[in-house]
């Protein structure tokens, strides 16, 4: 009898505890976010574990980098669902999601919050990652993870006396990290030794998502080309201008010094080839520098150095250095029912203490951290990253971004495989882009003539002298 009573009471206590625990579990607020899987998403989850309000739990809904990442967010917006509360999306997608009315306008949060404001972030960053329309002062995203196209190279090869002497003899100048793509071509050619399994250059050229476009754009802009005229919406004469063709041709030519088949590579393949010692230099996002600097991942990590991408001397004699902005802004789902909890989390997360932890592995957008004395020394590439920020360029802050991107991807891929010449590919891309813009209701105003070097007309950059940065 005693045992029965003890069993009964134990069971009752267990049931009550289970009910109470169940109730408290139900009371827990889950903030779900969508991002592509990787170091930075892991860092966010890790930091969030220390969020003081233990009733709030961060739930990652991670997808691989690529179109399914965009499509997951877009599909949820299309059904006006609250399957996630916030998401990290590409800067170019802000136009699509904010323009579609699916993202929360952050100005309202800035107005009511004592801790969050646009001033926490560099003006250029918050504009790049969250402003729509351009220069409107309306923000839909915070610079969650800044990124830039960069370069990594084998310092051990560049500093090898035998290599230095051989290069000097062959090219009549010192072996150095290239400042222009013209120099990069020579250095890449020098290190291309298929018999030794070594190639001079690695870059992305894959058909998926933005692999070929972000890489080729860096060449196109540096040679003075442009994708379109944002005032008149003309694409023909800009995307296929002589300067744009020069740039994309230089990009395509670099595959001659890259491993065979690299025309279909994404960032994974570039990383793998570099980590296996197949590449002397590679174009890669700063995002991956953390793993490429890690000796447990990259067996050449100790001999690896990180730098800034070269520029180019265009046909007008001007030197330009411009490359693609990467990274993502953090936007809020308008259909989320947890805005107060999310705002409180953001107020905590965008504090220097948390952002310093984040900046040790990824690139923060918080001004207080970026301007702190110790930030540049947090790892071996932050110093270059801070320099790289001034050369960033972005493209198509238009809701039609996914269509324009896919069309350019297809045509650049055609140029890489040789199915079309660079000029044919860019001309076809320009025609398709104009058709897409017209279909979306943009009125294209035709100019009497289009410039040979479009950059001279559209936000001109460039110097007469080559400015060395590496």
């Amino acid at each position: 009898m005693k045992n029965s009573i003890r069993l009964l009471s134990t069971t009752s206590v267990s049931v009550i505890a289970a009910v109470l625990l169940g109730t408290s579990a139900q009371a827990e607020t889950e903030l779900t976010f969508v991002w592509h899987a990787g170091t930075c998403a892991d860092a966010l989850v890790e930091i969030a574990k220390d969020y003081p309000d233990k009733s709030v739990k961060l739930v990652p809904a991670l997808v691989p980098y690529g179109p399914e990442w965009h499509n997951k967010i877009a599909s949820e917006f299309a059904i006006q669902g609250d399957g996630f509360d916030f998401a990290m999306w590409d800067s170019q997608s802000t136009a699509e999601f904010a323009g579609g009315g699916h993202a929360v306008k952050l100005n309202d949060i800035f107005a009511s919050s004592e801790l969050l404001s646009a001033e926490l972030f560099p003006a250029a960053s918050i504009s790049q990652y969250g402003e729509y329309p351009d220069n409107s002062g309306n923000f839909y995203g915070l610079p969650m993870n800044q990124d830039a196209y960069g370069m990594m190279y084998r310092r051990d090869l560049f500093e090898d006396p035998a290599e230095m002497a051989a290069f000097q003899e062959k090219y009549g100048r010192e072996l150095a990290v290239p400042q222009t793509y013209q120099e990069a071509k020579e250095v890449a050619e020098f290190f291309t030794r298929p018999d030794e399994g070594l190639y001079g250059w690695g870059q992305m050229g894959g058909r998926e998502y933005d692999f070929a476009t972000t890489a080729s754009n860096s060449f196109l802009w540096s040679f003075g080309g442009e994708l379109y005229n944002p005032e008149t919406y003309e694409v023909q004469g800009y995307l296929n201008s002589p300067a744009s063709i020069d740039g994309v041709q230089a990009y395509v030519d670099m595959f001659n010094f890259a491993p065979p088949g690299s025309g279909s590579w994404g960032f994974d393949e570039v990383n793998a080839a570099f980590q296996q010692g197949q590449l002397a230099m590679a174009m890669q996002w700063f995002y991956f520098n953390g793993s490429n600097a890690d000796p447990s991942v990259n067996k050449f990590a100790e001999g690896t150095a990180f730098g800034i991408l070269p520029g180019a001397v265009g046909r007008d004699g001007m030197f330009r250095r411009q490359f693609s902005v990467g990274g993502q802004g953090m936007g809020i789902n308008k259909y989320s029912k947890k805005l107060p909890e999310l705002t409180a989390f953001m107020e905590w997360y965008f504090q220097p203490e948390q952002q310093k932890r984040y900046a040790a592995v990824c690139q923060t957008g918080l001004k207080a951290v970026l301007e702190s004395d110790d930030w540049q020394g947090l790892n071996s590439y932050n110093a270059q990253f801070s320099t790289a920020l001034q050369y960033l360029n972005d493209y198509w802050h238009l809701p039609q971004y996914p269509v324009l991107l896919d069309q350019l991807q297809e045509e650049i891929s055609n140029a890489i495989t040789g199915t079309k010449s660079v000029e044919e590919a860019l001309t076809d891309a320009a025609k398709r882009h104009e058709r897409t813009l017209e279909r979306a209701g943009y009125e294209i105003t035709r100019s009497d003539s289009t410039p040979e070097v479009p950059d001279q007309e559209i936000t001109p950059v460039g110097t007469k002298e080559i400015i060395a940065v590496n």
């Binding site: 690529g66 179109p67 965009h70 499509n71 877009a74 599909s75 917006f77 299309a78 699509e96 323009g99 579609g100 009315g101 699916h102 050229g205 894959g206 058909r207 998926e208 998502y209 491993p259 065979p260 088949g261 690299s262 025309g263 279909s264 393949e269 793998a272 080839a273 296996q276 197949q278 809701p399 996914p402 269509v403 896919d406 297809e410 045509e411 891929s413 055609n414 890489i416 495989t417 199915t419 079309k420």
Partner: protein, 314 residues
């Protein structure tokens, strides 16, 4: 009298016809009652989406931006698509892909299935192992083959170069990419043909082979004149299923080639998915899906009719 007689005679007839009518109507009611849940599900799950799809195809709108409105465009989406050279290229590529991989799958599947109907030690283990690729997700297969076909460090090129042959750029050239995709699809789906072929072959009575043996039939004669004709209906079903499935292949290409290089490995289904969920051109994507739907229905009807004829013959 005549009238009385007639009335007397007609009463039971009327009664019986009324009873038959009641029986018929209650029978119909019962049939309708039994069928109605299925019909409702069919209407809700099949008819409604198809009708919606067809109606969407006459509009220009985006599911992502419904506030931009629904613009009636009539047949514009169809005329735009059917006049687009790129779409025809996708149809041609899809046709090539279907032809190459279904042919390979049928030939290999029937051959292996024929061998597996024979009794030998370890047959069941081999059979089980052969079924494994079919159990994987097409996306996983795509990524797996993507790594295997990597031009520099993929195992396929490693084997090719160890034979002293030149490495092949499998995924960065259009023609090799087609064969790479066909190889991956064949690896994954040949087991399905093996499964059905083995089942069909094992269903043929042993006595028929014994009789043929007595008549002195050669193994080739037995295979081509007995085994194949007698298992033709099952093999034909396998062919229909593979044709339809290959025709709408999307996920394998998504993971393996991303539709590239250029757009050389974009199937029609790939184009539908891209237009619907990347571009969010919902009206245009609906029109493309309707075109694809009618092609698949047409193809299925032809093949099913042929299958029925075959059923009557055997």
């Amino acid at each position: 009298m005549t009238v009385t007689d007639q009335s007397q005679n007609s009463t039971p007839t009327r009664r019986s016809s009324a009873a038959t009518g009641r029986k018929k109507s209650s029978g119909r009611l019962m049939i309708f009652g039994f069928l109605s849940p299925t019909l409702l599900i069919l209407i809700f799950m099949v008819a409604y989406p198809i009708i919606s799809l067809i109606s969407y195809s006459f509009y220009n709108f985006s599911a992502l931006n419904p506030h931009e409105g629904y613009k009636w465009v009539g047949l514009d989406n169809y005329t735009y698509l059917l006049s687009d050279k790129a779409l025809w290229q996708r149809f041609i590529f899809t046709g090539k892909f279907v032809f190459v991989c279904v042919s390979l799958q049928m030939v290999i599947g029937i051959f292996v299935g024929y061998q597996l109907q024979k009794k030998f030690k370890g047959r069941d283990v081999i059979f089980t192992l052969l079924m494994m690729p079919m159990m994987l997700s097409p996306v996983v297969v795509g990524f797996l083959w993507r790594y295997m076909l990597n031009s520099e460090w993929g195992v396929v090129n490693y084997l090719i170069s160890s034979l002293g042959l030149e490495k092949v750029l499998w995924l960065s050239q259009a023609t090799p990419a087609l064969f790479a995709a066909a190889a991956a699809d064949t690896w994954m789906w040949t087991p399905f043909i093996i499964l059905l072929a083995t089942a069909a072959f094992r269903g043929i009575p042993e006595t028929i082979y014994e009789a043929a043996e007595v008549d002195g039939a050669s193994p080739a004669y037995k295979f081509f004149r007995l085994t194949l004709p007698m298992s033709a209906p099952v093999l034909f079903i396998a062919l229909i299923l593979r044709l339809i499935d290959s025709f709408k292949q999307y996920d394998l290409f998504f993971a393996l080639t991303g539709g590239g290089p250029g757009s050389s490995t974009e199937t029609v289904s790939f184009a539908v998915a891209k237009t619907a969920f990347n571009y969010f051109y919902t009206g245009e994507a609906s029109a493309l899906a309707v075109i694809l739907l009618f092609i698949i229905i047409g193809l299925s009807m032809i093949l099913v009719r042929h299958l029925n004829k075959m059923g009557e013959k055997y």
